[in-house]
Amino acid sequence: MAMDSNVGQARPQKAFVRLYFDVSSPWSYVACVILLRYKDAWNLEVDLFPIFLGGIMVMSGNKAPALHPEQTPYNAMDGKRIFERYGLDIRSPPGHPMNTTSLNIIRFLRAVRAEESREILAACTMLIFLEFYSVHTDYTTDAFWECLVPTISKEKLAHLRNISQSEKHKEGVKEDVAEAVEQHGVFGCPWFVARRPQDGKVDGFFGVDKLEAMAWWLGEREKK
């Protein structure tokens, strides 16, 4: 076995983190970015998992933050602060979130996750977030999808868009929602499901503000 060049620098064992995210959720964008920034530093196996938040809301009986009018000013202000801090250009496009739907985008990303590597999924996710929140290309047009070329070729893009509209992925999006709600108690996005290596325990974390708590929990030994 090769000598570890980082001797003396304790490197954590690899922990597994699945991130449930939706493109319709700006906080999901922040969570994706931070998680990928910390992937190496925290030695994480990151499983980006696109999920249809509209479905989560219906199934969990939860109400979207946008439907709590008293919370809108605070959420807008808090978002602005967080986006500035993390250096992200996040501005809601016209009609977002009440008159937009991420259903087709989530179907597409689901197909990417099934067909392509994690790296390609991460790249596609970032490009779509950027196109949606910074470039503001109308997501219902073909021009929107061009942001993914050349990360994936035109042919592959057409292929993935095509299969994303198959029964497999249309139904798959619903099954994913049911699984997330029933198995992990998901009622919003972003939602992290982490498994720590030292004892195999699994725990859920809701919201970007929970990353620090997750880091603490990942490093925590079970105490008797």
């Binding site: 202000m77 808090d78 198995q183 992990h184 725990d203 809701f206 708590a213």
Partner: protein
């Protein structure tokens, strides 16, 4: 080194809110390190909920298991012993406690208020003495003498404080946009700007917003845990990947 200028932080909190307890404990731990002028402000969260037509988390059944998990985890991470007493939060009310703390704030000032708040939080969440009994109030002796305690309790039931907590709710909602607790209103020393932060996990963001010298170091500003608790550790939900 602590920042040279004092930043002002008003903490709007309720005894009924366990996350208020986390925020209260954390804010006081950072008081010296961040050179904060802390203004503790007890507020009746039930009133805020009614006024803003918000639903408390405990009335959103989907969220309850997660909140129990999250509370337990923070309790371990921050070494604050928080276990909900029987009937909490649906069959308890903090109304009299908030009236009382309002009177303490007015009569005794911030230092005594901090100590009374800490003792009441502890008695409610850790010792779990029934808050409706006389015995509950004994936790405040000798921070307050028996005579002073009786006097403030009596005073807290006057129209002044009964009406006062309603006005406080109205002001908090209208001036600070409050819709939940804990709610922190911070004034930045460098330019006098005011901003608000909702929840117990906003200290990191608040430190960033206050300026580069407000470094967030997690639950313990000096890196050590001086607050060990001896309760059984909380455990997470069972889930499979």
């Amino acid at each position: 080194m602590a920042p040279l200028q004092k930043a002002h932080v008003k903490l709007l909190y309720d005894i009924s809110s366990p996350y208020s307890y986390f925020a209260f404990a954390t804010l006081l731990r950072y008081k010296e390190a961040w050179n904060l002028d802390v203004d503790l402000f007890p507020i009746f969260l039930g009133g805020v909920m009614v006024y803003t037509e918000n639903t408390p988390p405990s009335l959103r059944p989907m969220e309850v298991p997660y909140i129990i998990l999250d509370k337990g985890r923070i309790s371990d991470q921050y070494s604050v012993d928080i276990r909900s007493p029987p009937g909490h939060p649906m069959d308890t009310t903090s109304l009299n406690l908030i009236r009382f703390l309002r009177a303490v704030r007015e009569e005794e000032g911030q230092e005594i208020l901090a100590e009374c708040t800490r003792l009441i939080f502890e008695e409610f969440y850790a010792v779990q003495t029934d808050y409706r009994t006389e015995q509950f109030w004994e936790c405040l002796v000798p921070t307050l003498t028996k005579e002073n305690l009786a006097r403030i309790r009596q005073l807290s039931q006057t129209t002044r404080h009964k009406e006062g907590i309603k006005e406080d709710v109205k002001n908090a909602v209208e001036n600070y946009g409050m819709f939940g607790a804990p709610w922190m209103v911070a004034t930045r020393a460098s330019d006098g700007k005011v901003d608000v932060f909702f929840g117990a996990d906003k200290f990191d963001a608040m430190g960033w917003w206050l300026g580069p010298e407000y470094v967030w170091r997690g639950p313990y500003p000096d890196g050590q845990n001086p607050y060990p608790i001896a309760t059984p550790r909380h455990s997470g939900i069972v889930a499979r990947l």
